[in-house]
């Protein structure tokens, strides 16, 4: 199951937000990570985490430093990409406002700050598919709401009102809450299992002969 996980290299987008918390979680799991601020920092990465932060800021800096296309390229190659909160906004197909401009990699529609302003930010225990029966403590901060899921989207967790808060589409993951703000690394391990699997598949494809265009 763990496969190549020990040798995985995970990039964490570090242009703004709580990237240090993701890196700390990866460190606790013994995973090598790299702060990604420029496109060449993505070189050799088996997966990418887009952290929480301010999505309008992330969007502008991704444009300015030409990060959208290489990140989309990683997703197209089948590498694992996970967005938390602002990161989820950036992965969405569409959002309810004109700004920021998402990358459109996951077939979900997202409404920014839809759970309210900071005074409405909340904590709630969640049941998440695939990480075991123990509840996972969800921390939601000015959280984005998933208002549409496409056919290929697997809902991993919802809150009692019915809205999905953790979703998967192939090797892509998105959460409207912040696993990196807790000491619980089970969601990071879930992401690493996906990254490990896709990295393993790419290795065997490479081993099988010249890479197909």
């Amino acid at each position: 199951m763990m496969g190549r996980q020990g040798k995985l290299k995970i990039g964490v987008l570090a242009i703004q937000g709580d990237f240090a918390e993701h890196i700390a979680a990866l460190n606790r799991l013994g995973i090598e990570s790299r702060e990604v601020r420029l496109p060449d920092h993505l070189e050799g990465m088996d997966g990418l985490i887009i952290p929480g932060g301010e999505s309008t800021t992330l969007s502008r800096l991704m444009d300015l430093y030409h990060l959208r296309e290489p990140i989309a390229g990683m997703a197209r190659e089948g590498k694992a990409v996970w967005g938390t909160c602002a990161g989820m906004i950036m992965l969405a197909r569409e959002i309810t406002e004109d700004d920021p401009v998402p990358m459109g990699l996951m077939d979900i529609g997202v409404h920014r700050n839809a759970y309210g302003r900071q005074v409405d930010s909340f904590e709630q225990d969640l049941e998440i598919a695939g990480i075991g029966p123990e509840p996972f403590h969800g921390i939601f901060i000015r959280a984005p709401k998933i208002i549409r899921v496409g056919e290929d989207i697997e809902v991993l967790a919802s809150i009692p009102s019915g809205e999905p808060v953790a979703v998967r589409q192939g090797s892509l993951l998105a959460t409207s809450f912040h696993p990196e703000l807790t000491a619980d690394t089970r969601f990071h391990e879930q992401f690493l299992r996906i990254a490990s699997l896709t990295a393993g598949e790419m290795d065997s494809r490479r081993g099988g002969g010249p890479e197909q265009p």
Binding site: A14, I15, Q16, G17, D18, F19, A20, E21, R37, G52, G53, E54, T56, T57, R60, L61, L64, C85, A86, E97, D99, R112, N113, R117, Q118, V119, D120, S121, F122, E123, Q124, D125, I139, F140, I141, R142, I159, P160, H178, L181
Partner: protein, 296 residues
């Protein structure tokens, strides 16, 4: 039914985590707020006057008129912060009722209480407070602050005090990390802080909450300097909208915080920004006009 908790310390301090690596800009109207947002600010501080004008005008500086704050909240989608006077818990209640995302209990306004700060645990809205050293920082955290910033000397455009305060906090933490256990009780007493918070700081090797730089940052290089000294992000008060070309300067300072360790990018973004704010050397300000010593 699953419990839903709001106003916890985790969501208050967690919000500050989302601001890290970002720039929070002082704005006095919706137009400035829009410029800040368009140029990559992670949040804005809604004010009636920027600190440089508060300093020039003199008199009593109070909480901003709620209509100004609401107009700014209606204009931008990024978080909006606002300042209350030190110890003025009713101004803080008003700001919370308006729905601001963060309250800055700030020495830039005229203190309402020279002895006591707001007991911030009672609020759902999170607070940021200024500090000059580790003792002030940990005292504010024990009162419930979910985020700390250096005081610097606001409205001067002179970064020297922000540097002094950031170095002081970092030096004290380094000293703490090398301190034997049996000296901690006395250190806590000397700093005027709880032993628990001191031990927590020592274990983490940093302040237990996010720590921004503030008070005198005027250029991209100033912002990178504060980041390299260990700040998690930067407040820019008068430095942007008192400069010749606010949009370009805002844009450049945002990049200088992301790429604080990359002098080539800093060189590039520092070009052609027009005039910086004029500024006053903090050293030439009479002692009774300094803002930072207004609280301890």
């Amino acid at each position: 039914m699953v419990d839903v908790l709001t106003g916890t310390f985790a969501v208050k301090s967690g919000h500050a985590q989302m601001l890290k690596g970002g720039v929070i800009m002082d704005v006095v109207n919706p137009e400035q707020a829009k410029i800040a947002e368009e140029n990559g600010a992670v949040a804005v501080m809604a004010l009636e006057r920027v600190p440089a004008d508060i300093r020039a005008d003199g008199g009593v500086a109070r909480m901003t008129d709620p209509s100004v704050i609401c107009a700014i909240m209606d204009t931008v989608s990024i978080p909006v912060m606002a300042k209350c006077r030190i110890g003025h818990f009713v101004e803080a209640q008003v700001l919370e009722a308006l729905g601001v995302d963060y309250v800055d209990e700030s020495e830039v306004l005229t203190p309402a209480d020279e002895t006591h700060h707001v007991w911030k645990h009672d609020f759902t809205v999170p607070f940021v407070c200024g500090c000059r050293d580790l003792g002030e920082a940990l005292r504010r955290i024990s009162e419930g602050a979910a985020m700390i910033r250096t005081k610097g000397e606001a409205g001067t455009g002179d970064v020297v005090e922000a540097v002094r305060h950031m170095r002081s906090v970092q030096d004290s933490i380094r000293k703490l990390q090398n301190m034997p256990d049996d000296e901690l009780v006395v250190e806590a007493r000397n700093l005027g802080v709880s032993l628990d918070l001191l031990v927590q700081t020592r274990e983490q090797g940093r302040l237990p909450v996010v720590n921004f730089a503030a008070g005198g940052v005027a250029t991209p290089a100033d912002a990178s300097l504060m980041m390299q000294l260990g700040a998690d992000g930067v407040f820019v008060g008068s430095g942007i909208f008192k400069s010749g070309d606010p949009a370009s300067r805002a844009h450049a300072i945002v990049q200088s915080v992301t790429h604080y360790n990359d002098p080539k990018i800093l060189a590039e973004v520092s070009k052609d920004l027009g005039e910086a704010m004029v500024g006053i050397s903090a050293r030439t300000i009479p002692e009774d006009e300094l803002l930072a010593p207004r609280s301890r």
